[in-house]
Assembly symmetry: C2
């Protein structure tokens, strides 16, 4: 490997002079600067950032931990994060927890040992608090994105889940629905709680009854339990609409409905949180509350960098990003009862 010493020897200067040329620090005569630069080119020298990190105690690496690398919401978020990091001269280490605490822990251990300068973190659940505590112990700055964790103080970039859910429900109610099932994420995830709150708020606003039996806590993965759905559809008074708490749930539920011969929206309406990537373009079908996923990532990294630079002397910040109701075709008037 070519080191600064190799350059130094060839240029008849000291290693320090080479270092200064690389970092544009200190004063150097134009002559030696040129000579050193030329020799670096000749030898294809590239600074070893491992060594640099060791002495400077910074890696110029940030890390992004998300819960599902195949979900368009998170990939778009990742894109925003990557763009921001790249522009700021940082590399991005990705991790994928699959909504699992065990994978999340492994990943946190990894980044701790990698000594990344900071972490943009979408926690799998409230139980992620332990992992965040580890980050605090080791003084790794982090920003929470998409989800918050009770009892953890941190900078955050969050969506307006409650309002978004409320709007989705308002839309359904305005179409005439009075009985709406909610297929939600786990109650241990803040976004699921907030969407639930928006759901209930809408019911109350319109003096609609809350019925526990059409509210399911399923989790944010694809829905894979036809029996539960069947039970709801076979009720004497079945819901006329389904509010799926995220895109994966909506897509898989619509799949089941289709397989069963139930047409959307004619027989039942479906709405959800988060958009569905290319699907919304190919066939603008799903009525959704879209979150600005790219902004989540971009502003998350910006906030993280601000925290890194200003250390403790900055107030904690929470950025709330609104969602937008996009009315398409998956929700219509409820069917007439015979």
């Amino acid at each position: 490997m070519v080191t600064i010493y190799d350059i130094a020897k060839r240029a008849n200067v000291s290693a320090m002079t080479v270092s200064r040329v690389i970092n544009n620090s200190g004063r150097i005569s134009a002559g030696t600067r040129e000579k050193v630069k030329r020799i670096m080119e000749e030898l294809n020298y590239i600074p070893n950032s491992t060594a640099r990190s060791l002495v400077k105690q910074e890696t110029k690496m940030l890390s992004l931990l998300i819960t599902d690398i195949t979900n368009p919401f998170f990939t778009t978020l990742a894109r925003g994060a990557e763009d921001a990091a790249h522009q700021l001269g940082y590399k991005l280490l990705f991790g994928n927890s699959d909504e699992k605490l065990s994978k999340e822990k492994e990943y946190v251990d990894m980044v701790l040992s990698t000594r990344v300068d900071g972490l943009l973190f979408a926690p799998a659940s409230d139980a992620s608090a332990d992992h965040l505590a580890m980050l605090n112990v080791h003084r790794i700055p982090f920003v929470l994105v998409d989800r918050e964790v009770p009892g953890v103080e941190a900078d955050m970039v969050l969506g307006e889940n409650r309002t978004g859910a409320f709007q989705l429900m308002e839309h359904l109610v305005s179409l005439g629905h009075r009985r709406v099932a909610l297929i939600n994420g786990f109650g241990t995830v803040s976004t699921a709680r907030e969407r639930y709150a928006g759901y209930r708020e809408a019911l109350e606003r319109h003096r609609l009854p809350y019925d526990d039996s059409i509210v399911l806590e399923y989790g944010y993965n694809r829905f894979d339990d036809p029996a539960k759905l069947e039970r709801i559809l076979r009720m004497p008074d079945p819901p006329t609409a389904i509010f799926a708490a995220n895109n994966m749930l909506a897509v898989s539920i619509i799949g089941y409905l289709r397989d069963r011969g139930v047409s959307v929206p004619e027989q039942i309406s479906v709405v959800c949180f988060e958009d569905v990537g290319m699907a919304s373009e190919l066939d603008p079908f799903l009525t959704v509350a879209v979150q600005p996923a790219y902004e989540f990532g971009y502003r998350g990294i910006e906030l993280l960098m601000e925290r890194i630079r200003r250390k403790e002397e900055m107030e904690r910040q929470t950025i709330r990003l609104p969602s937008e109701l996009i009315v398409r075709k998956s929700a219509g008037a409820p069917p007439h009862r015979l």
Copy 2:
């Protein structure tokens, strides 16, 4: 920061002994091992992999460079790569070239300085050869994924683009199409050349004429040039089908057709390479040649690791992964002419 010396002091042993406990190397008495372990726990010690990398000359990091982090093909590939890397105890550094050589170069410089142990690389075009040459100069092992580069010898994981394109065309021909437009990626990208070859091969097989005026080299980004499409649609003898060389092109083209009131597949058929993520589940519409994207990533990392372990003493390998024709609804019989 807690270091190996802090542990050593507390345990009344040397730093080396601590190091041996951490790495399970050398023989150590059960007693001191336990003591050291306990103290590491107490102090929340986590090894500094930066320092370790410096002396061991390996970072336990691999890098994945893709051309579009928002395309479901690449995100699924990324997922496969992340899974493989994680299982092998490696971290994954992601990069996104946006199909641009300039971003690709920046990224290559970054990983060179980061001293990753290897790189899984989806080159932006044939001109990426320069960047690959840099990797060779610095002896960074790499595996090409999805695309090959003429003149560059390397391990590769590639798709069967020619066969896949041929099958897609066969399907169209079997439906009765005799005039099919091709909207392709740039000729400087190997997959575009191969898909083009499959297209021509199918024409020849069925003794259909090749018409230059309905073959467009557009690039793999979303199609954004209505005029070009208009020109083709307005021909006296317009094509009855469009073969879009990737998912982005297909989706955006279908969008334009819809806006213009042209219905697919009634008035014109559309097929493409690569699936469209959630869209294919929400509404199984597009007839496509699906590539095993996850395998691309997973096997790419496996191959890369093999190369890293066995160095030069291994023959170069090329893995060819077949695509699968999935017939859905976007292609039907050509319309009857009046």
